[in-house]
Symmetry: C2
Subunit: 385 residues, 2 copies
């Protein structure tokens, strides 16, 4: 049966104090829900998204005639739905777009309620903690006191982890996939190069490009290309693209097949990256890119405990499932194991699966049987019980 | 004793046919030599450079008064000089700047001899094979028929490998450090993002920016930042920079120390990368960056043998030393082992050292005792004998 999704919006009049000391008021959150909330409101699962995703987690959209819109599947549709690992026949699943994003919730593309000017670069810096606080308010509005689980991959996993520290009583399980307790210097470095590409694009105009009727697409393309390299494993890139040429020069004297050009697309991997960059630059907001990568940089629950993650996670009360992927070099299994160790130091109930998958960081979004099996089994045997 | 280097220039009137089918005529090569060529001209060692280096391999420069110029050491001064692993008391060492580079040899910044216009984007695409052919002509001019060794790291190692295939009779040893038999899809991907950053910089002007009196510095900065990330290991980045902040905000209400800014430098790693990018953009030519990364992309001696590296290396007659570094994820030890295996398949004389070093790809330029020891011992026991 097709799961049809309907985006909704919740307005919040009361100001949300932010970690930076600033606050944001009169904001909206876009969200979707799937399945039915049970009578005692105990079956809710909150899904947190990463950089490039939204509240549209599962299901499809329909047009006015009721026909399914092509390619409108939610970003975690393999994971969530009727009969799927996170089974919407059993759980009430909530997807919410974070503050500062560009898919409906209040962000840099919207207008400041006082000045009626587009926020742009003036949108306040938001953190993982701020997102979690905003998500908790949405749950208040939906009348949900305690979540069965909070779940997310990558930056979404950081939100699930932050939930266990900010609202330990409001959740029973945390499912943290392909995530990390903080960014490494290399992770920050990749974010910084992407940000510099955006900020130094002449069309960025200090983040107020909306006023100039332009978009810093050059910078966004570069940012996305860099991102894509870090999402894939070296192995899967070699397998998918290798050194294949897009249009080998036939009958070339040299027989190498090369075009001998520095600017043309020659290798398949170049074509793939340019396509991904072009596509992204059409729909993603540049200020959102800066905000979300900064939230990633800042996330570091151990920092308030002198860098001791075990001390930091002592606050958590939830039961945990952690999943990592062997070829993920962005958030490697070693980073998940740091979290597992810190939880075990605190005698927490933790399950951990390290999935042997070739796809790198992207694996968390893909339909891998062992991965799906682990999550299904955890939800059936632990979350539902 | 201080080794003083003196750059020289050799002019070549005869056209050099290029792999692309084009040719280049009336070109200069900048080079330096260290030590003395012996009577039978059998002690010459050719050093090949990588992306960002030149003919200035060893020693220092002096000003007109004979005083040493600060920070003028050659890029491989730890390796080459009197009493060093490649001992200039024993060997006649030659450094040569490749065609298309921007440190003296003919490249995109020079004028075409026919039109008197700056080449810019019209400089022909040059390959590793072309560089090797040009280097061989320099040796002809110096009267050197056979080299004791050809040596290089990274892209320089590819040239040493190409030498063994193009001129198997003209060399006795190849020393190939931190190199690879070709680029992986991921390697090409990083090159492509860097090139796109340069080419899409509005100041690039299709590669003819010289005419406009501008330089595509934005793009060069991004390219260099990306490069730097790939030169260092995750470990050494964490050790050197970690999550350290440059100027923590003191007395912040949040106590996190963050500035909550998307555009300011906050982390030390950001400051380091921006500095490296700024420095590079001041002196490196954008067209040279495109040309050299393309030469890297194209290098693939196995391609003419159906991808069979063992068949390709059957032409080599030299004895080999290969060195790789455990934390080098750009050209990992596995890539060097591919070359070792292909040489062993051909019963070639090959020594291989995998150095346990934390510095990533950059290790090949650093003064690591085990690394230096291996090269010293190889030159003493094998090359000099």
């Amino acid at each position: 049966m097709t799961l049809v999704a309907t985006p909704q919006t919740m307005h919040f009049a009361e100001a949300l104090p932010l970690q930076s000391g600033a606050s944001i008021r009169a904001y909206d959150l876009s969200y979707e829900t799937y399945g039915e909330l049970n009578a005692d409101k105990s079956n809710a699962v909150l899904i947190c998204h990463a950089l490039n995703a939204s509240h549209h987690v599962a299901g499809v959209y329909c047009d006015d005639s009721g026909a399914v819109i092509a390619k409108s599947e939610g970003w975690w549709d393999t994971m969530i739905g009727p009969g799927k690992p996170v089974d919407t026949d059993r759980f009430f699943v909530i997807g919410v777009n974070n503050l500062g994003s560009c898919f409906g919730s209040t962000g840099p593309m919207q207008r400041h309620p006082d000045t009626n000017e587009i926020y742009g670069a003036d949108f306040p810096v938001v953190t993982v903690q701020d997102w979690v606080a905003a998500q908790a308010r949405l749950l208040d509005a939906l009348g949900i006191r305690q979540l069965a689980a909070v779940m997310g991959g990558s930056l979404g996993g950081m939100q699930a982890l932050a939930w266990t520290l900010q609202y330990p009583e409001r959740m029973r399980h945390a499912v943290v996939v392909a995530s990390a307790p903080n960014l490494t210097a290399e992770n920050i470095a990749f974010n910084e190069v992407a940000r510099r590409a955006i900020v130094t694009d002449p069309d960025f105009h200090g983040g107020h490009f909306y006023r100039h009727g332009v978009l810093p697409k050059r910078g966004l393309r570069i940012a996305r290309m860099i991102g894509h390299i870090t999402y894939l494993s070296d192995d899967v890139m070699n397998e998918k693209f290798g050194r294949q040429l897009r249009d080998a020069v036939i009958d070339s004297a040299s027989a190498s097949g090369y075009k001998y050009s520095t600017q043309d697309v020659e290798f398949q991997i170049e074509s793939y990256l340019r396509y991904q960059g072009d596509k992204f630059a059409e729909y993603f907001d540049a200020n959102t890119y800066l905000l979300i990568t900064r939230a990633l940089d800042y996330f570091d629950p151990a920092s308030a405990f002198g860098g001791d993650l075990s001390l930091a996670l002592a606050q958590a009360k939830a039961k945990f499932l952690l999943v990592s992927f062997t070829t993920d070099w962005r958030f490697s299994p070693a980073r998940s194991r740091e979290i597992v160790k810190a939880l075990l130091d605190n005698q927490r109930d933790v399950s951990y699966a390290e999935i042997d998958a070739p796809h790198g960081h992207d694996a968390f979004l893909l339909d891998d049987a062992r991965y799906m099996g682990v999550v299904r089994s955890y939800f059936q045997s632990k979350v539902a019980s």
